[in-house]
């Protein structure tokens, strides 16, 4: 079986461990085993770069050095917030000898040579796993399920680094979902911000940012939203629950990870344990499509 290295990160290790399970099961259906970086640390997103420039580079650099040492290259970073910090650090270090030297003094005895290619989930699916593996693994068709792809901020917006897809109107997630029989709808909010960590600091900000997305989803008749980041998924999910309870809002749109749907198409049996972690329970929708 092919292996790909990945940065498991704090949220996938704890509050969003349902994503880690979804990822690992989905990838094993596609014939790829995910290997976490051993002894990884928190990359500091988003507090380190916000308050201390050097710490915001040094924390990702320790992970990059470990990945390099363990031969995990390219490296999948599933959380978008971690992805942009790891990518920024890798890029800045690669472009400056002075910074490389300074960072290596800070993370010593570890040493980073600057070789690791930081990749997000969409890049890995397209270029490492391959679309053909997704097609070959298909056991179930998504039956035209109407979905909205949500990329959020960081998949396509890391300043100074070329984006793998169009920054303002990416299509790579839609293409993958079409392959497994879903019907992605066009919408204007695919790269809007969900508030990221602000849902922990100041919840109403995140609720306000998400509310318009739900209204649009209802207007378009979408049945689900698909995300790739644990912060995006959680915010889009929990804020509906909050608005339902507090304002009797009508929102009840399941928010999947991309790997949930590709995994289901490949015949992965996630079981109720996974779906119970979600605030908007997707099981009713899934059973309508004979997927659960």
């Amino acid at each position: 079986m092919k292996t790909i290295g990945y940065y498991k990160s704090c949220s996938l290790n704890a509050s969003s461990n349902d994503y880690a399970r979804s990822l690992e099961m989905c990838f094993s259906r596609l014939g790829t085993q995910l290997v976490p970086i051993e002894d990884w640390n928190c990359c500091g997103a988003s507090s380190a770069h916000a308050t201390n420039e050097l710490l915001g580079l040094a924390l990702p650099a320790r992970n990059l050095a470990l990945a390099e040492q363990q031969g995990l290259n390219p490296l999948l970073v599933p959380c978008s917030a971690c992805y942009t910090r790891m990518l920024t650090a890798a890029d800045k270090i690669r472009k400056s000898d002075a910074l490389t030297a300074e960072i290596n003094e800070i993370i010593a005895p570890l040493r980073y040579m600057g070789t690791v290619q930081v990749r997000n989930i969409l890049e890995i699916l397209w270029t490492e796993v391959g679309a053909d593996a997704i097609l070959r693994a298909r056991k179930h068709d998504l039956g035209g399920m109407k979905v909205l792809c949500y990329y959020g901020c960081y998949l396509t917006r890391t300043p100074g680094v070329a984006s793998f897809d169009n920054r303002e109107d990416p299509r790579s997630m839609e293409r993958l979902l079409q392959m497994i029989g879903a019907e992605p709808l066009d919408w204007p909010y695919k790269t809007d911000c969900c508030g990221a960590g602000f849902s922990l600091i100041d919840a109403p900000v995140s609720v306000q940012l998400c509310e318009k997305m739900y209204d649009m989803a209802l207007e378009l008749g979408a049945e689900a939203i698909v995300a790739t980041c644990p912060l995006c998924q959680t915010n889009l999910d929990v804020n509906q629950d909050k608005l339902r309870k507090e304002k009797s809002a009508p929102y009840k749109i399941p928010v999947f990870y991309l790997t949930d749907l590709i995994g289901l198409s490949g015949g992965a049996d996630f079981g109720n344990k996974l779906w119970r972690k979600r605030f908007i329970d997707p099981r009713e929708l899934l059973s309508r499509y004979a997927l659960a």
């Binding site: 704090c10 201390n52 420039e53 320790r62 800070i106 959680t234």
Partner: protein, 192 residues
């Protein structure tokens, strides 16, 4: 008519204001901003800001440092990078705002949004302890300190009720060695 001989004046010192500092430290040339307002038009957080990003750029050009360090803007910017990728003059505005926030902390300025500054501090303290975040502890500390009423509590409480906050912390294998990273960063004042 007597010809004026040019006077020997004091040598002209190159001006080193806020914009020049940002240029030297981060390579971002804020003077390139010509106020097209594209950054502010796309910013999702202007509703909570006192100065939209375009105005921040102008204020930096004019050297209005203290107003900026005391602003709400630097604390409510979520670093979504929308402004940075849209700027026709290729200014990484989000990075410039990061640099102002960092400067406000270094200079000990009172943060206009105390809760945000507190969260960042608690988050980084939490990581320093074990190398990984322990969400339960972080959120408990933050909510106790900010006194967020339970019915108002955000994600943290909901995650807790859903059984998604782990009860046991995890850590890197060598915590002492990990803390060296923090120490060395502090030694350098947090700047490149």
């Amino acid at each position: 008519m007597k010809e004026e001989t040019p006077q020997e004046g004091p040598a002209l010192e190159p001006k080193r204001g806020l914009a020049e500092e940002i240029m030297a430290e981060h390579g971002e040339d804020v003077y390139r901003c010509y106020q097209c307002l594209k950054c502010s038009a796309g910013c999702p957080m202007t509703f909570a800001m006192d100065y939209p990003p375009s105005q921040v750029m102008r204020m930096i050009q004019l050297g209005q440092e203290e107003d900026l360090l005391a602003s709400k803007t630097i604390w409510v910017c979520v670093t979504c990078n929308t402004c940075s990728i849209r700027c026709p003059n290729d200014i990484d505005i989000a990075l410039v705002i990061d640099s102002l926030r960092q400067k406000a902390l270094r200079k000990g300025r009172h943060p206009a949004k105390e809760n945000v500054a507190l969260f960042h501090k608690y988050f980084l303290d939490n990581v320093k302890k074990r190398g990984r975040t322990f969400e339960g502890e972080l959120l408990a500390r933050y909510q106790l300190k900010t006194g967020q009423a339970f019915e108002n509590a955000g994600l943290g409480l909901r995650m807790f009720l859903k059984g998604r906050l782990g009860v046991l912390p995890e850590s890197v294998s060598n915590k002492k060695a990990f803390r060296e990273i923090y120490r060395r960063v502090e030694e350098r004042g947090g700047k490149k």
